[in-house]
Protein backbone atom coordinates (compact mmCIF):
# COMPACT_ATOMS: atom_id res chain seq x y z
CA UNK A 1 0.00 0.00 0.00
CA UNK A 2 2.68 2.46 -0.88
CA UNK A 3 1.64 3.60 -4.31
CA UNK A 4 1.29 7.32 -4.76
CA UNK A 5 -2.27 8.37 -4.26
CA UNK A 6 -3.20 12.00 -4.26
CA UNK A 7 -4.47 12.86 -0.83
CA UNK A 8 -6.83 15.76 -0.34
CA UNK A 9 -10.44 16.29 -1.14
CA UNK A 10 -11.26 17.87 -4.46
CA UNK A 11 -8.11 18.39 -6.41
CA UNK A 12 -5.31 16.25 -7.81
CA UNK A 13 -3.05 19.28 -7.40
CA UNK A 14 -0.35 18.05 -5.01
CA UNK A 15 1.37 20.62 -2.82
CA UNK A 16 3.77 18.10 -1.38
CA UNK A 17 5.06 15.10 -3.30
CA UNK A 18 6.99 12.67 -1.17
CA UNK A 19 8.67 9.95 -3.16
CA UNK A 20 10.45 7.01 -1.61
CA UNK A 21 11.83 8.65 1.52
CA UNK A 22 13.34 6.54 4.25
CA UNK A 23 15.33 6.91 7.44
CA UNK A 24 17.41 4.51 9.51
CA UNK A 25 18.48 5.01 13.09
CA UNK A 26 21.17 2.77 14.54
CA UNK A 27 20.21 -0.09 12.30
CA UNK A 28 16.47 0.27 12.71
CA UNK A 29 14.42 1.31 9.71
CA UNK A 30 12.35 4.01 11.35
CA UNK A 31 10.64 5.06 8.15
CA UNK A 32 10.28 3.72 4.70
CA UNK A 33 10.26 -0.04 4.66
CA UNK A 34 11.75 -1.61 1.54
CA UNK A 35 10.80 0.92 -1.08
CA UNK A 36 10.54 4.04 1.02
CA UNK A 37 7.45 6.06 1.76
CA UNK A 38 5.56 7.65 -1.10
CA UNK A 39 2.57 9.89 -0.57
CA UNK A 40 1.08 13.13 -1.90
CA UNK A 41 -0.48 15.93 0.09
CA UNK A 42 -2.97 17.88 -1.97
CA UNK A 43 -3.06 21.65 -2.00
CA UNK A 44 -5.52 22.89 0.56
CA UNK A 45 -5.96 19.47 2.13
CA UNK A 46 -6.56 18.75 5.77
CA UNK A 47 -4.69 15.54 6.45
CA UNK A 48 -4.46 13.60 9.66
CA UNK A 49 -1.49 11.34 10.31
CA UNK A 50 -2.14 8.58 12.81
CA UNK A 51 -0.53 5.38 13.94
CA UNK A 52 0.71 3.61 17.04
CA UNK A 53 3.78 4.78 18.94
CA UNK A 54 6.98 4.28 17.05
CA UNK A 55 5.20 4.20 13.71
CA UNK A 56 7.46 6.90 12.35
CA UNK A 57 5.15 9.90 12.43
CA UNK A 58 7.57 12.30 14.09
CA UNK A 59 10.39 10.96 11.96
CA UNK A 60 8.33 11.77 8.90
CA UNK A 61 7.78 15.29 10.16
CA UNK A 62 11.48 15.65 10.85
CA UNK A 63 12.26 14.59 7.30
CA UNK A 64 9.63 16.87 5.80
CA UNK A 65 10.66 19.92 7.79
CA UNK A 66 14.35 19.35 7.21
CA UNK A 67 15.38 18.71 10.78
CA UNK A 68 16.84 15.39 9.65
CA UNK A 69 18.15 14.48 6.22
CA UNK A 70 16.42 11.60 4.49
CA UNK A 71 18.50 8.54 3.64
CA UNK A 72 16.77 8.24 0.28
CA UNK A 73 13.96 9.63 -1.81
CA UNK A 74 12.85 13.08 -2.88
CA UNK A 75 10.56 15.73 -1.53
CA UNK A 76 8.94 18.21 -3.89
CA UNK A 77 7.10 21.16 -2.42
CA UNK A 78 5.03 23.48 -4.57
CA UNK A 79 6.90 22.28 -7.62
CA UNK A 80 10.36 22.84 -6.08
CA UNK A 81 12.73 20.06 -5.13
CA UNK A 82 13.52 20.65 -1.49
CA UNK A 83 15.14 17.30 -0.76
CA UNK A 84 18.45 18.88 0.19
CA UNK A 85 17.06 22.11 1.57
CA UNK A 86 17.88 22.96 5.17
CA UNK A 87 15.30 23.45 7.87
CA UNK A 88 15.37 27.22 7.68
CA UNK A 89 15.19 27.19 3.88
CA UNK A 90 12.05 25.06 4.06
CA UNK A 91 10.56 27.47 6.55
CA UNK A 92 11.23 30.25 4.08
CA UNK A 93 9.54 28.25 1.33
CA UNK A 94 6.43 28.14 3.45
CA UNK A 95 6.58 24.95 5.49
CA UNK A 96 5.81 25.38 9.15
CA UNK A 97 5.88 22.82 11.91
CA UNK A 98 5.30 22.46 15.60
CA UNK A 99 7.11 19.95 17.80
CA UNK A 100 5.95 17.01 19.84
CA UNK A 101 7.73 18.43 22.87
CA UNK A 102 7.02 22.16 22.81
CA UNK A 103 10.10 24.21 22.04
CA UNK A 104 10.41 27.74 23.35
CA UNK A 105 12.87 30.58 23.56
CA UNK A 106 13.28 30.99 27.25
CA UNK A 107 14.99 34.34 27.23
CA UNK A 108 12.07 35.92 25.32
CA UNK A 109 8.61 36.80 26.59
CA UNK A 110 5.45 35.19 25.28
CA UNK A 111 4.84 38.00 22.81
CA UNK A 112 8.45 37.99 21.67
CA UNK A 113 8.24 34.24 21.15
CA UNK A 114 5.61 34.88 18.52
CA UNK A 115 7.15 37.99 16.98
CA UNK A 116 10.47 36.22 16.53
CA UNK A 117 8.68 33.62 14.42
CA UNK A 118 8.30 36.12 11.61
CA UNK A 119 11.17 37.13 9.41
CA UNK A 120 11.70 40.80 10.07
CA UNK A 121 13.83 42.86 7.69
CA UNK A 122 15.81 43.85 10.78
CA UNK A 123 17.25 40.36 10.86
CA UNK A 124 19.52 41.25 8.00
CA UNK A 125 22.84 42.43 9.34
CA UNK A 126 22.84 45.62 7.33
CA UNK A 127 19.34 46.67 8.35
CA UNK A 128 20.00 45.85 11.96
CA UNK A 129 22.22 48.89 12.20
CA UNK A 130 19.63 51.13 10.63
CA UNK A 131 16.18 52.30 11.56
CA UNK A 132 14.02 50.95 8.75
CA UNK A 133 13.05 47.80 10.56
CA UNK A 134 11.19 49.78 13.20
CA UNK A 135 8.42 50.51 10.74
CA UNK A 136 7.75 46.82 10.29
CA UNK A 137 8.11 46.08 13.96
CA UNK A 138 4.85 47.73 14.98
CA UNK A 139 2.95 45.80 12.35
CA UNK A 140 4.57 42.55 13.44
CA UNK A 141 3.67 43.19 17.05
CA UNK A 142 0.04 43.86 16.17
CA UNK A 143 -0.13 40.73 14.07
CA UNK A 144 1.46 38.76 16.90
CA UNK A 145 -1.12 40.08 19.34
CA UNK A 146 -3.95 39.01 17.07
CA UNK A 147 -2.55 35.53 16.84
CA UNK A 148 -2.08 35.30 20.57
CA UNK A 149 -5.75 36.16 20.84
CA UNK A 150 -6.61 33.38 18.41
CA UNK A 151 -4.74 30.81 20.49
CA UNK A 152 -6.07 32.11 23.77
CA UNK A 153 -2.90 33.58 25.17
CA UNK A 154 -3.72 37.25 24.72
CA UNK A 155 -3.51 38.16 28.38
CA UNK A 156 -0.15 36.42 28.89
CA UNK A 157 1.88 38.39 26.40
CA UNK A 158 4.35 40.07 28.74
CA UNK A 159 5.09 37.03 30.82
CA UNK A 160 8.21 34.91 30.62
CA UNK A 161 7.52 31.64 28.85
CA UNK A 162 8.62 29.67 31.87
CA UNK A 163 5.32 30.61 33.48
CA UNK A 164 3.24 28.78 30.89
CA UNK A 165 1.88 25.27 31.24
CA UNK A 166 2.70 22.52 28.76
CA UNK A 167 -0.56 22.93 26.90
CA UNK A 168 -0.11 26.68 26.70
CA UNK A 169 3.43 26.25 25.39
CA UNK A 170 2.03 24.04 22.69
CA UNK A 171 -0.41 26.75 21.66
CA UNK A 172 2.44 29.24 21.70
CA UNK A 173 4.34 27.00 19.30
CA UNK A 174 1.34 27.07 16.97
CA UNK A 175 1.16 30.85 17.26
CA UNK A 176 4.82 31.16 16.36
CA UNK A 177 4.20 29.28 13.14
CA UNK A 178 1.02 31.16 12.29
CA UNK A 179 2.75 34.51 12.14
CA UNK A 180 4.62 33.23 9.10
CA UNK A 181 1.37 32.37 7.30
CA UNK A 182 2.82 29.07 6.10
CA UNK A 183 1.46 27.34 3.03
CA UNK A 184 1.84 23.97 4.68
CA UNK A 185 1.59 23.55 8.43
CA UNK A 186 2.71 20.36 10.12
CA UNK A 187 1.37 19.98 13.64
CA UNK A 188 2.86 17.32 15.88
CA UNK A 189 0.34 16.24 18.55
CA UNK A 190 -1.09 19.72 19.12
CA UNK A 191 -3.63 18.61 21.71
CA UNK A 192 -1.38 16.69 24.09
CA UNK A 193 -1.75 18.15 27.55
CA UNK A 194 -4.15 20.79 26.31
CA UNK A 195 -7.29 21.57 28.30
CA UNK A 196 -10.48 20.24 26.59
CA UNK A 197 -11.96 23.72 26.23
CA UNK A 198 -8.78 24.91 24.62
CA UNK A 199 -8.89 21.85 22.39
CA UNK A 200 -12.24 22.98 21.03
CA UNK A 201 -10.78 26.36 20.30
CA UNK A 202 -7.83 24.72 18.60
CA UNK A 203 -10.19 22.64 16.46
CA UNK A 204 -12.05 25.78 15.45
CA UNK A 205 -8.76 27.51 14.67
CA UNK A 206 -7.56 24.66 12.48
CA UNK A 207 -10.84 24.52 10.58
CA UNK A 208 -10.64 28.28 10.09
CA UNK A 209 -7.08 28.08 8.81
CA UNK A 210 -8.05 25.30 6.50
CA UNK A 211 -10.97 27.15 5.01
CA UNK A 212 -8.61 30.07 4.52
CA UNK A 213 -6.54 27.91 2.20
CA UNK A 214 -3.79 26.55 4.46
CA UNK A 215 -2.75 22.95 3.94
CA UNK A 216 -2.60 21.09 7.22
CA UNK A 217 -1.06 17.80 8.26
CA UNK A 218 -1.76 16.91 11.85
CA UNK A 219 -0.23 14.05 13.83
CA UNK A 220 -2.50 13.02 16.66
CA UNK A 221 -3.17 10.24 19.12
CA UNK A 222 -6.40 11.98 20.09
CA UNK A 223 -8.52 10.33 17.38
CA UNK A 224 -11.72 11.86 18.71
CA UNK A 225 -10.27 15.32 18.03
CA UNK A 226 -8.72 14.50 14.70
CA UNK A 227 -11.28 12.36 12.94
CA UNK A 228 -13.90 15.08 13.47
CA UNK A 229 -12.02 17.78 11.57
CA UNK A 230 -9.58 16.14 9.17
CA UNK A 231 -10.70 15.27 5.68
CA UNK A 232 -8.17 12.63 4.79
CA UNK A 233 -6.31 10.24 7.07
CA UNK A 234 -2.95 8.57 6.59
CA UNK A 235 -2.23 5.58 8.79
CA UNK A 236 1.41 4.83 9.50
CA UNK A 237 2.68 1.70 11.17
CA UNK A 238 6.25 0.51 11.55
CA UNK A 239 7.43 3.17 9.17
CA UNK A 240 5.07 2.20 6.38
CA UNK A 241 1.85 3.61 5.06
CA UNK A 242 -0.80 1.09 6.07
CA UNK A 243 -3.93 2.77 4.80
CA UNK A 244 -5.35 6.09 3.74
CA UNK A 245 -8.78 7.48 3.15
CA UNK A 246 -11.59 9.58 4.61
CA UNK A 247 -12.08 9.35 8.39
CA UNK A 248 -15.21 7.23 8.13
CA UNK A 249 -13.41 4.55 6.15
CA UNK A 250 -10.40 4.54 8.44
CA UNK A 251 -12.53 4.31 11.56
CA UNK A 252 -13.91 0.98 10.50
CA UNK A 253 -10.87 -0.45 8.76
CA UNK A 254 -9.94 -3.73 10.47
CA UNK A 255 -6.29 -3.48 9.49
CA UNK A 256 -6.04 -0.10 11.17
CA UNK A 257 -7.79 -1.29 14.28
CA UNK A 258 -5.52 -4.27 14.67
CA UNK A 259 -2.47 -2.08 14.09
CA UNK A 260 -3.51 0.01 17.06
CA UNK A 261 -4.46 -2.99 19.16
CA UNK A 262 -1.24 -4.63 18.11
CA UNK A 263 0.48 -1.75 19.96
CA UNK A 264 -0.05 -3.69 23.18
CA UNK A 265 1.86 -6.61 21.80
CA UNK A 266 4.52 -4.60 20.09
CA UNK A 267 8.14 -5.18 21.11
Amino acid sequence: MTEAQPAGVHTVDALLEVDGISKRFAGIQALGGDRGLTVDIGRGAFVGLIGPNGAGKSTMFNLLSGVLPADSGTVIFDGKDITTATSHERAEHGIGRTFQTPRTFESLTVLENVVVGATSPGEQLRSAFGRSWRRHEAGLVDHARDILGQVGLADREAEPVTDLSGGELRMLGVARQLIRRPTLLLLDEPTAGVHPLLQDRLAELLVELHSGGMTLVVVEHNLHFLLAIAEHILVLTQGRLLAQGPPADIRGDPAVISAYLGEDHAA
Binding site: G66, T86, H88, F99, A128
Partner: protein
Protein backbone atom coordinates in the same frame (compact mmCIF):
# COMPACT_ATOMS: atom_id res chain seq x y z
CA UNK B 1 51.95 54.61 44.95
CA UNK B 2 51.14 56.94 42.11
CA UNK B 3 47.35 56.74 42.08
CA UNK B 4 46.62 59.23 39.27
CA UNK B 5 49.03 57.44 36.95
CA UNK B 6 47.54 54.13 37.94
CA UNK B 7 44.02 55.27 37.20
CA UNK B 8 44.96 56.59 33.78
CA UNK B 9 46.64 53.29 32.95
CA UNK B 10 43.61 51.37 34.16
CA UNK B 11 41.34 53.62 32.10
CA UNK B 12 43.38 52.96 28.99
CA UNK B 13 44.17 49.27 29.36
CA UNK B 14 40.76 48.63 30.87
CA UNK B 15 39.06 50.16 27.84
CA UNK B 16 41.18 48.12 25.48
CA UNK B 17 40.44 44.88 27.26
CA UNK B 18 36.87 46.00 27.70
CA UNK B 19 36.50 45.97 23.93
CA UNK B 20 37.85 42.43 23.73
CA UNK B 21 35.56 41.34 26.57
CA UNK B 22 32.56 42.87 24.79
CA UNK B 23 33.43 40.92 21.68
CA UNK B 24 33.68 37.74 23.70
CA UNK B 25 30.36 38.57 25.33
CA UNK B 26 28.76 38.82 21.91
CA UNK B 27 30.31 35.56 20.78
CA UNK B 28 29.54 33.56 23.90
CA UNK B 29 26.55 35.02 25.67
CA UNK B 30 24.58 35.82 22.54
CA UNK B 31 26.16 33.65 19.90
CA UNK B 32 26.73 30.58 22.02
CA UNK B 33 30.30 30.16 20.80
CA UNK B 34 33.16 29.35 23.13
CA UNK B 35 36.24 31.10 21.78
CA UNK B 36 39.39 30.13 23.64
CA UNK B 37 41.66 31.76 21.10
CA UNK B 38 40.52 35.37 21.14
CA UNK B 39 44.02 36.61 21.87
CA UNK B 40 44.95 35.68 18.31
CA UNK B 41 42.63 38.29 16.81
CA UNK B 42 43.98 40.82 19.26
CA UNK B 43 47.52 39.91 18.20
CA UNK B 44 46.63 40.07 14.51
CA UNK B 45 45.41 43.62 15.00
CA UNK B 46 48.49 44.65 16.93
CA UNK B 47 50.99 43.13 14.55
CA UNK B 48 49.20 44.39 11.46
CA UNK B 49 49.20 47.90 12.84
CA UNK B 50 52.88 47.58 13.67
CA UNK B 51 53.82 46.21 10.28
CA UNK B 52 51.87 48.85 8.40
CA UNK B 53 53.19 51.79 10.33
CA UNK B 54 56.75 50.92 11.10
CA UNK B 55 59.62 52.08 8.90
CA UNK B 56 61.44 49.66 6.62
CA UNK B 57 63.87 47.29 8.23
CA UNK B 58 67.45 48.31 8.68
CA UNK B 59 70.48 47.28 10.59
CA UNK B 60 69.90 44.44 12.97
CA UNK B 61 66.18 44.21 12.29
CA UNK B 62 65.17 40.77 11.20
CA UNK B 63 61.69 41.63 10.04
CA UNK B 64 61.04 42.03 6.37
CA UNK B 65 58.05 44.36 6.07
CA UNK B 66 57.62 47.91 7.17
CA UNK B 67 55.29 50.06 5.16
CA UNK B 68 55.65 53.27 7.12
CA UNK B 69 52.11 54.30 6.39
CA UNK B 70 50.17 56.76 8.54
CA UNK B 71 48.54 55.56 11.73
CA UNK B 72 44.97 55.59 10.49
CA UNK B 73 45.89 53.32 7.61
CA UNK B 74 47.45 50.98 10.14
CA UNK B 75 44.29 51.00 12.21
CA UNK B 76 42.09 50.25 9.20
CA UNK B 77 44.44 47.46 8.21
CA UNK B 78 44.31 46.06 11.74
CA UNK B 79 40.54 45.81 11.69
CA UNK B 80 40.52 44.29 8.23
CA UNK B 81 43.23 41.77 9.08
CA UNK B 82 41.35 40.65 12.17
CA UNK B 83 38.23 40.22 10.06
CA UNK B 84 40.17 38.18 7.51
CA UNK B 85 41.74 36.02 10.20
CA UNK B 86 38.30 35.40 11.69
CA UNK B 87 36.99 34.41 8.28
CA UNK B 88 39.93 32.09 7.76
CA UNK B 89 39.71 30.38 11.13
CA UNK B 90 35.93 30.52 11.32
CA UNK B 91 35.26 28.79 8.06
CA UNK B 92 36.43 25.34 9.16
CA UNK B 93 35.77 25.59 12.88
CA UNK B 94 32.35 27.11 13.32
CA UNK B 95 30.73 23.83 12.39
CA UNK B 96 32.02 22.49 15.68
CA UNK B 97 30.29 23.06 18.94
CA UNK B 98 30.96 23.61 22.58
CA UNK B 99 34.19 22.14 23.78
CA UNK B 100 35.43 21.23 20.31
CA UNK B 101 35.08 24.81 19.11
CA UNK B 102 36.93 25.86 22.26
CA UNK B 103 39.73 23.47 21.42
CA UNK B 104 40.14 24.47 17.80
CA UNK B 105 40.08 28.17 18.55
CA UNK B 106 42.65 27.50 21.27
CA UNK B 107 44.74 25.49 18.83
CA UNK B 108 44.58 28.19 16.17
CA UNK B 109 45.71 30.80 18.65
CA UNK B 110 48.65 28.68 19.71
CA UNK B 111 49.57 28.00 16.10
CA UNK B 112 49.52 31.71 15.45
CA UNK B 113 51.63 32.41 18.51
CA UNK B 114 54.12 29.82 17.36
CA UNK B 115 54.10 31.38 13.92
CA UNK B 116 54.88 34.82 15.35
CA UNK B 117 57.75 33.41 17.36
CA UNK B 118 59.27 31.49 14.50
CA UNK B 119 58.70 33.61 11.43
CA UNK B 120 61.23 36.30 12.13
CA UNK B 121 60.58 37.95 8.80
CA UNK B 122 57.04 38.77 9.84
CA UNK B 123 57.24 39.42 13.52
CA UNK B 124 60.88 39.78 14.37
CA UNK B 125 60.78 36.74 16.65
CA UNK B 126 60.73 37.02 20.41
CA UNK B 127 62.03 40.54 20.35
CA UNK B 128 59.02 41.71 18.47
CA UNK B 129 58.45 44.93 16.65
CA UNK B 130 59.35 48.01 18.59
CA UNK B 131 59.19 50.84 16.12
CA UNK B 132 55.46 51.01 16.39
CA UNK B 133 54.03 54.35 15.44
CA UNK B 134 52.69 56.23 18.40
CA UNK B 135 50.58 58.82 16.66
CA UNK B 136 49.21 61.14 19.21
CA UNK B 137 51.64 63.03 21.32
CA UNK B 138 50.35 65.85 23.45
CA UNK B 139 47.28 67.64 22.16
CA UNK B 140 47.83 71.18 23.27
CA UNK B 141 47.55 71.31 27.06
CA UNK B 142 46.35 67.69 27.32
CA UNK B 143 49.13 65.25 27.98
CA UNK B 144 49.58 62.27 25.71
CA UNK B 145 48.51 59.71 28.28
CA UNK B 146 45.10 61.37 28.61
CA UNK B 147 44.73 61.41 24.87
CA UNK B 148 45.39 57.70 24.78
CA UNK B 149 42.90 57.01 27.52
CA UNK B 150 40.33 59.04 25.60
CA UNK B 151 41.01 57.18 22.36
CA UNK B 152 40.69 53.80 24.07
CA UNK B 153 37.53 54.90 25.82
CA UNK B 154 36.11 56.12 22.54
CA UNK B 155 36.76 52.77 20.92
CA UNK B 156 35.04 51.07 23.82
CA UNK B 157 32.08 53.39 23.58
CA UNK B 158 31.77 52.93 19.84
CA UNK B 159 31.91 49.14 20.20
CA UNK B 160 29.38 49.21 22.98
CA UNK B 161 26.95 51.34 20.99
CA UNK B 162 27.34 49.23 17.86
CA UNK B 163 26.78 45.96 19.71
CA UNK B 164 23.89 47.32 21.71
CA UNK B 165 22.22 48.55 18.55
CA UNK B 166 22.69 45.16 16.96
CA UNK B 167 21.39 43.24 19.94
CA UNK B 168 18.36 45.47 20.41
CA UNK B 169 17.28 44.88 16.84
CA UNK B 170 15.40 41.86 15.42
CA UNK B 171 18.84 40.46 14.60
CA UNK B 172 19.63 40.27 18.30
CA UNK B 173 16.25 38.69 18.98
CA UNK B 174 16.91 36.07 16.34
CA UNK B 175 20.33 35.42 17.90
CA UNK B 176 18.71 34.86 21.26
CA UNK B 177 16.26 32.44 19.70
CA UNK B 178 19.06 30.51 18.03
CA UNK B 179 20.94 30.32 21.29
CA UNK B 180 17.89 29.21 23.23
CA UNK B 181 16.74 26.52 20.81
CA UNK B 182 18.45 26.22 17.49
CA UNK B 183 16.09 23.63 16.02
CA UNK B 184 13.04 25.75 16.80
CA UNK B 185 14.75 28.88 15.52
CA UNK B 186 15.57 27.18 12.24
CA UNK B 187 11.99 26.04 11.86
CA UNK B 188 11.06 29.71 12.11
CA UNK B 189 13.39 30.58 9.28
CA UNK B 190 16.49 31.70 11.18
CA UNK B 191 19.68 30.60 9.42
CA UNK B 192 21.64 29.62 12.52
CA UNK B 193 24.99 28.72 11.02
CA UNK B 194 25.10 31.87 8.89
CA UNK B 195 24.21 34.16 11.75
CA UNK B 196 26.78 32.60 14.02
CA UNK B 197 29.45 33.12 11.40
CA UNK B 198 28.40 36.74 10.98
CA UNK B 199 28.60 37.34 14.72
CA UNK B 200 32.03 35.75 14.82
CA UNK B 201 33.27 38.00 12.02
CA UNK B 202 31.76 41.25 13.23
CA UNK B 203 33.03 40.79 16.75
CA UNK B 204 36.56 40.20 15.48
CA UNK B 205 36.85 43.71 14.04
CA UNK B 206 36.79 45.67 17.32
CA UNK B 207 39.23 43.15 18.77
CA UNK B 208 41.64 43.89 15.93
CA UNK B 209 41.19 47.62 16.45
CA UNK B 210 41.82 47.20 20.16
CA UNK B 211 44.99 45.34 19.28
CA UNK B 212 46.12 48.28 17.19
CA UNK B 213 45.48 50.72 20.04
CA UNK B 214 47.32 48.39 22.40
CA UNK B 215 50.32 48.34 20.07
CA UNK B 216 50.22 52.12 19.85
CA UNK B 217 50.12 52.42 23.60
CA UNK B 218 52.88 49.97 24.40
CA UNK B 219 54.82 50.79 21.21
CA UNK B 220 55.47 47.08 21.10
CA UNK B 221 54.21 44.05 19.29
CA UNK B 222 55.79 41.11 21.02
CA UNK B 223 54.70 37.46 21.22
CA UNK B 224 54.98 37.44 25.00
CA UNK B 225 52.21 40.02 25.17
CA UNK B 226 49.81 37.76 23.33
CA UNK B 227 49.73 34.45 25.14
CA UNK B 228 46.83 32.23 26.14
CA UNK B 229 46.88 34.04 29.45
CA UNK B 230 45.29 37.03 27.74
CA UNK B 231 42.43 34.84 26.55
CA UNK B 232 41.92 33.55 30.06
CA UNK B 233 41.99 37.01 31.54
CA UNK B 234 39.29 38.17 29.16
CA UNK B 235 37.22 35.08 29.98
CA UNK B 236 37.62 35.76 33.66
CA UNK B 237 36.55 39.36 33.12
CA UNK B 238 33.50 38.11 31.22
CA UNK B 239 32.45 35.62 33.85
CA UNK B 240 33.10 37.95 36.77
CA UNK B 241 30.98 40.58 35.10
CA UNK B 242 28.07 38.16 34.86
CA UNK B 243 28.53 36.59 31.43
CA UNK B 244 25.36 37.93 29.90
CA UNK B 245 25.24 41.66 30.36
CA UNK B 246 27.35 44.00 28.24
CA UNK B 247 27.82 46.37 31.15
CA UNK B 248 28.91 43.48 33.30
CA UNK B 249 31.48 42.58 30.68
CA UNK B 250 32.96 46.06 30.79
CA UNK B 251 32.84 46.23 34.57
CA UNK B 252 34.55 42.87 34.75
CA UNK B 253 37.31 44.06 32.43
CA UNK B 254 37.92 47.27 34.36
CA UNK B 255 37.76 45.53 37.69
CA UNK B 256 40.23 42.88 36.68
CA UNK B 257 42.63 45.33 35.05
CA UNK B 258 42.42 47.53 38.11
CA UNK B 259 43.27 44.64 40.37
CA UNK B 260 46.19 43.61 38.18
CA UNK B 261 47.59 47.11 37.81
CA UNK B 262 47.38 47.78 41.55
CA UNK B 263 49.36 44.64 42.25
CA UNK B 264 51.83 45.48 39.52
CA UNK B 265 52.35 49.06 40.68
CA UNK B 266 52.49 48.38 44.41
CA UNK B 267 55.86 49.27 45.89
CA UNK B 268 57.04 45.87 47.09
CA UNK B 269 60.33 45.60 48.82
CA UNK B 270 61.74 42.66 46.92
CA UNK B 271 61.29 41.35 43.44
CA UNK B 272 60.26 38.04 44.93
CA UNK B 273 57.46 39.52 47.03
CA UNK B 274 56.16 41.36 43.97
CA UNK B 275 56.14 38.06 42.10
CA UNK B 276 54.34 36.34 44.92
CA UNK B 277 51.77 39.12 45.03
CA UNK B 278 51.16 38.72 41.31
CA UNK B 279 50.73 34.97 41.77
CA UNK B 280 48.38 35.48 44.69
CA UNK B 281 46.38 37.83 42.52
CA UNK B 282 46.10 35.08 39.92
CA UNK B 283 45.04 32.57 42.54
CA UNK B 284 42.45 34.89 43.95
CA UNK B 285 41.03 35.80 40.55
CA UNK B 286 40.92 32.17 39.51
CA UNK B 287 39.07 31.18 42.66
CA UNK B 288 36.61 33.99 42.18
CA UNK B 289 36.10 32.81 38.60
CA UNK B 290 35.36 29.26 39.75
CA UNK B 291 33.04 30.50 42.47
CA UNK B 292 31.08 32.77 40.13
CA UNK B 293 30.73 29.97 37.59
CA UNK B 294 29.37 27.71 40.27
CA UNK B 295 27.10 29.96 42.26
CA UNK B 296 25.98 32.22 39.42
CA UNK B 297 25.22 35.14 41.69
CA UNK B 298 24.24 37.39 38.80
CA UNK B 299 21.52 35.07 37.59
CA UNK B 300 20.14 34.95 41.10
CA UNK B 301 20.18 38.70 41.44
CA UNK B 302 18.50 39.05 38.07
CA UNK B 303 15.83 36.55 38.99
CA UNK B 304 15.21 38.23 42.29
CA UNK B 305 14.89 41.59 40.58
CA UNK B 306 12.46 40.19 38.05
CA UNK B 307 10.38 38.59 40.78
CA UNK B 308 10.06 41.87 42.58
CA UNK B 309 8.68 43.83 39.61
Amino acid sequence: MNWPQLLITVATIGSIFGVVTLALNLQYARGGMINFGIVAYFAVGAYTYAIFTQPSPKGLDQYAFGLDWPWWAGVLAAGTAALAFAALTGWPTLRLRGEYLALTTFAFAEVFHSFLLNERRIGNGTVGLSNVERPFGDWGPIEEKYVFAAVAALLLLATLLAFRQLLASPYGRALDAIRDDEVAAESSGKPAANMRRQVFLISAVPVGLAGAVYAMFTTLAQPSLFTAEVTFIVWIALVLGGERSVYGAMLGAFGLVFFEEVVRAWPFETVRSAQIAASVEHIFTGLLFIAVLRFQPFDRIQRRMKART
